[in-house]
């Protein structure tokens, strides 16, 4: 019960928020709004799954936003300028992202560097590489893109569950299975608890670390692919600052930043809460976009303070039974 408390609180916050919004705007509680919530936040959700693994292992990945930007530019150039078939381009970019993530993981593991600064260098490198490839916004007109944009599962009530929303849901399910039901997932939790003990238990710490950052970068690449579906364009300045939104979503989802604790489902709710704030602001119409940032910051603070409180409570020695004098 105690283990699930942060996730339950997050879920409750989302449900209460959704009910408040629905009471204020009668059209809010419709499949249309919910489906759009999933579609608009699909790229954020996919990259947040990778970030959940990284943060549970006790690390952080600041490069994801830049990797998304790199992917969109790479895809646009490959598909539009060099006539590479889209599926081949997807495979290519995912391989590049995997290599990039593996390199960061290896630098963190073998040179004993803080993940924060290594992925910061990764942020510069990926963003710089996308600037070097092209600084203009390139539209993608491949037939595959219009097919994907045109297809959706129609829900009763006018909602359209798009391909990218389905992709996000699939990534969440796959991420949940990988984290909670496989040996790799257990190793990720162990790393977040204590690196030294994990190594002493016989877990291959190096290989696991490299795989974690590889996973994060590959999911960032996948998120970049989804981003091009969403915008039908590649632009080197796309997804600037997404790493912060992603970290915020993971933290709001109840994952401990010190590592060793968290759920993929919590991250899903965290992403939905961020989307809910944005949808509310759109519905309201009079609130400006910067309130999103302020509201996210306030929520972030509330959840971090809540986590800190739980840690303090857990450390408190059990209350002495009345009447028993300690010897």
């Amino acid at each position: 019960m105690n283990r699930l408390l942060p996730v339950l609180v997050t879920t409750a916050v989302f449900l209460v928020g959704f009910i408040i919004c629905s009471l204020q705007y009668p059209n809010f509680a419709s499949t249309r709004v919910v489906a759009n919530l999933l579609t608009d936040n699909a790229f954020l959700g996919i990259v947040a799954v990778g970030m959940t693994f990284v943060i549970i292992s006790g690390g952080i990945d600041l490069s994801v936003g830049s990797v998304i930007g790199f992917t969109t530019v790479f895809l646009a150039l490959a598909i539009e300028r060099h006539d590479v078939p889209p599926l081949v381009a997807f495979a290519l970019v995912l391989v590049i992202c995997a290599a990039f993530g593996a390199a960061m993981g290896a630098a963190i593991q073998y040179f004993d560097l803080p993940p924060f600064i290594v992925t910061l260098a990764g942020l510069f490198l990926a963003r710089g590489a996308s600037f070097l490839m092209s600084t203009e916004s390139i539209a993608i007109n491949a037939p595959l893109y219009s097919d994907i944009a045109g297809y959706a599962i129609r829900l009763p009530g006018g909602g359209r569950l798009t391909i990218i929303a389905l992709m996000m849901l699939a990534v969440f399910v796959a991420g949940g299975v990988l984290l909670h039901f496989t040996r790799f997932g257990t190793n990720v939790y162990a790393l977040g608890g204590s690196r030294a003990s994990t190594a002493l238990m016989g877990v291959r710490v190096g290989a696991t670390t490299i795989r974690i950052y590889m996973l994060s970068s590959v999911l960032a690449g996948l998120s970049g692919i989804v981003f091009t579906f969403y915008t039908s364009a590649g632009y080197s300045l796309s997804a600037v600052g997404v790493e912060l939104d992603t970290i915020a979503a993971v933290v709001i989802g109840g994952t401990m930043l010190t590592g060793g604790y968290g759920f993929v489902f919590g991250t899903f709710v965290g992403v939905l809460i961020q989307g809910l704030i944005q949808t509310y602001i759109t519905f309201d119409g009079s609130l400006s976009s910067w309130w999103t940032k302020i509201a996210t910051g306030v929520l972030l603070f509330a959840f971090i303070a809540f986590q800190q409180l739980l840690v303090v409570l857990a450390r408190r020695p059990p209350r002495r039974v009345a009447g028993v004098v300690p010897s």
Partner: protein, 327 residues
């Protein structure tokens, strides 16, 4: 002994001179300095002038990093303070404008310090809150517009001069001297280093680690506020979206180039400022050489990696091992 350096600083000075020499080869007029309208002009002066905001941030950041912390919010604090100064500039007298902006910076620093020192939240995460929310607050102050002003008093902070030296350079130099006097003429520097080296041991030895930690974040907020004023005065306006964007990364990079370890402990304020100048000299060089400014990010990424690898204990151990094996 006020200028005592923890490390020799020879590599940094050599690197700076080498970059200046390269700039001179790229553009023969690099070292030409003119005296015009009571102020010095020239590319070399420009390096110091443009580097001033990052140098100010680095002065605050180096103390935070010395306590094993990090402050990601400096760019957002810059934006807040610049926005306050620009909004008030045309209606309030200069002392009120400056006091309001600096006061806001001190408050932001106090907030970060409280989260880190009292609530015990990891510095990356604690300052992430203000990094996310701060830009929203800055946009709230400017109401999403780019606020411009005409007040010549505030404009002095960007375009004025003291004895021919541009005002930003003079301000940076003053803050640098003040900081060095504070940390090296008193026991403060020693206590900061002790806090960063081992907070628990220092607390047991009687160092007020909590107060020290608070103080460095407050000082960092103050320096960021000054940087924000200089940046706003420079363009005669405040752009809440772009002022100080990514400068937190430049400031951290400057501190790392200056040889201060991200693991806390010994630090050098002078070398951090030199690090900021090195970054600016590289930027100027890339601009002068006619390469697109997009190269900046890639060059920075490479510099971060090289400096990190040189600092990594594993890497130097490897080098010693290899040279030993050869013999």
């Amino acid at each position: 002994m006020a200028l005592r350096l923890p490390r020799s600083g020879v590599p940094q000075v050599l690197a700076f001179l080498a970059i200046l020499a390269v700039n001179w080869m790229v553009s023969a007029q690099f070292f030409d300095i003119r005296f015009q309208d009571g102020r010095l002009f020239g590319s070399l002066i420009d390096v110091f002038n443009r580097g001033a905001p990052v140098a100010l941030l680095a002065i605050g950041m180096v103390l935070v990093i010395a306590t094993r912390g990090i402050d990601l919010s400096v760019g957002a604090v810059m934006a807040i303070c610049g926005a306050i100064a620009a909004t008030l500039a045309d209606t309030q007298p200069l002392p009120v404008v400056i006091a309001a902006a600096l006061g806001a910076g001190l408050l932001c620093g106090l907030w970060n310090g409280l989260l880190v020192a009292v609530l015990g939240i990891q510095p990356i995460i604690a300052t992430l809150i203000l990094m996310v929310a701060g830009r929203g607050i800055a946009q709230l102050i400017t109401e999403g517009r780019i606020v411009t002003f005409t007040s010549p008093d505030l404009a002095w902070f960007g375009g004025g001069s003291v004895l021919g030296v541009p005002a930003p350079v003079a301000i940076t130099f003053t803050v640098l001297v003040l900081t060095i006097l504070l940390v090296r003429r008193t026991a403060l520097g020693l206590m900061i280093e002790a806090t960063g080296g081992n907070a628990r041991a220092s607390a047991l030895a009687g160092v007020g680690t909590r107060v020290m930690t608070m103080a460095v974040y407050v000082w960092c907020g103050f320096c960021s506020a000054l940087a924000g004023i200089v940046a706003a005065a420079d363009i005669l306006g405040a752009d809440a979206n772009n002022s100080g964007l990514w400068l937190e990364l430049d400031a951290i990079l400057a501190v790392v180039i200056g040889g201060t370890s991200l693991f806390g402990g010994r630090f050098s304020v002078v070398l951090a400022v030199l690090g900021a100048l090195i970054i600016q000299a590289m930027n100027t060089g890339i601009l002068l050489s006619g390469y697109p400014p997009e190269f900046n990010l890639v060059v920075k990424a490479v510099v971060v990696l090289v400096v990190l690898l040189m600092q990594s204990p594993r890497f130097s151990g490897l080098a010693i091992l290899l040279s030993g094996a050869r013999k």
